[in-house]
């Protein structure tokens, strides 16, 4: 019970209440995140309806195979994250560490593929601005698509980077044995964040890569 003594903040009655408060707080934060991404999705919707043909043309310039692979990678990482939370719930320290490392590896793989895509687009001069490739028509509207592409995937990638940072912190704490079946809230809350970022990508993939 010494675990409970050291991890229960004084304002809570019991660990259950503390856990529930943490969970609601995390969901409140995720709502703000939904609105954060929501602004970009709204901008996307407005311009997609306004310039449907240009969005089809521009979307063909993205490699949907890489997008699909990245979707699969993220879904795998969500599975390993869910299993990490489960390991934490059961107090299995070794499994927790293994699944955290797997999740981080998959997250890094996602970012690696994303970086390769960005580099490729850079070489093809598909960066909005005065040097945007003149080979695409209608040019200005295609630039608009790529502006949205970089904003949305960029913000998403930033969330992935932060997520990997959070996982690193969890890993250090897990190795030090800070978590037990009595106290695993940080693992579960980080899991919520990780799955949220996965959900954003689930929508980004068809909206950006599969406009046909």
């Amino acid at each position: 019970m010494s675990d409970v003594q050291t991890t229960l903040a004084h304002q809570f009655e019991d660990p259950d209440q503390q856990h529930e408060a943490a969970s609601l707080g995390m969901w409140a934060f995720l709502i703000t995140e939904i609105m954060f991404f929501g602004g970009l999705f709204a901008a996307y919707t407005v311009y997609r309806i306004q310039y449907p043909a240009a969005f089809v043309t521009a979307s063909h310039l993205l490699d949907y195979k890489l997008g699909a692979v990245n979707t699969a990678v993220l879904i795998c990482s969500s599975l390993t994250m869910a299993l990490a939370v489960r390991a934490a719930q059961l107090g299995q320290r070794r499994n927790l560490i293994v699944f955290l490392i797997l999740t981080m590896t998959l997250g890094t793989t996602f970012l690696g593929i994303k970086a390769a895509e960005y580099t490729h687009k850079f070489h093809e001069r598909l960066i909005p601005g005065p040097n945007f490739t003149p080979n695409v028509s209608p040019n200005r509207e295609a630039q608009l698509f790529f502006l949205l592409y970089y904003s949305m995937t960029g913000l998403h990638a930033l969330h992935m980077v932060i997520g990997i940072g959070v996982l690193t912190w969890l890993l250090v704490r897990a190795v030090r044995g800070h978590f037990s079946h009595e106290y695993y809230s940080p693992v579960e809350m980080s899991g919520l964040y990780w799955h949220f970022v996965d959900i954003v990508w689930i929508y980004l993939f068809p909206l950006l890569y599969l406009v046909r």
Partner: protein, 104 residues
Amino acid sequence: MAHQVVPPKVYLMIFATLLLLTLVTLDVAFFNLGILNTPIALTIASVKATLVILYFMHVRYAPRLTWVFAGAGFIWLVILLAFTLSDYYSRHWLPLPTGWTSSR
């Protein structure tokens, strides 16, 4: 703490379903269904998102208050999209009052 521990089998089934639905998304994208393509893609994405929320994010096993919080986020998102679009696509419905000139 008496929190629901989900058996790995459930996670694996959700995982398999998510991968399957990704393949379906890919397949459907290359059939020309006209105006239906995007709604179908978004519906599949929403099914995937719901599975992630219910099982991976444990909302299915969570107290009702968590359901309210999770639902509220999406309700506000719908309001954001609906009001933005109703503004953008109703602007040209009414003529400008006489004596005014459009800036364009």
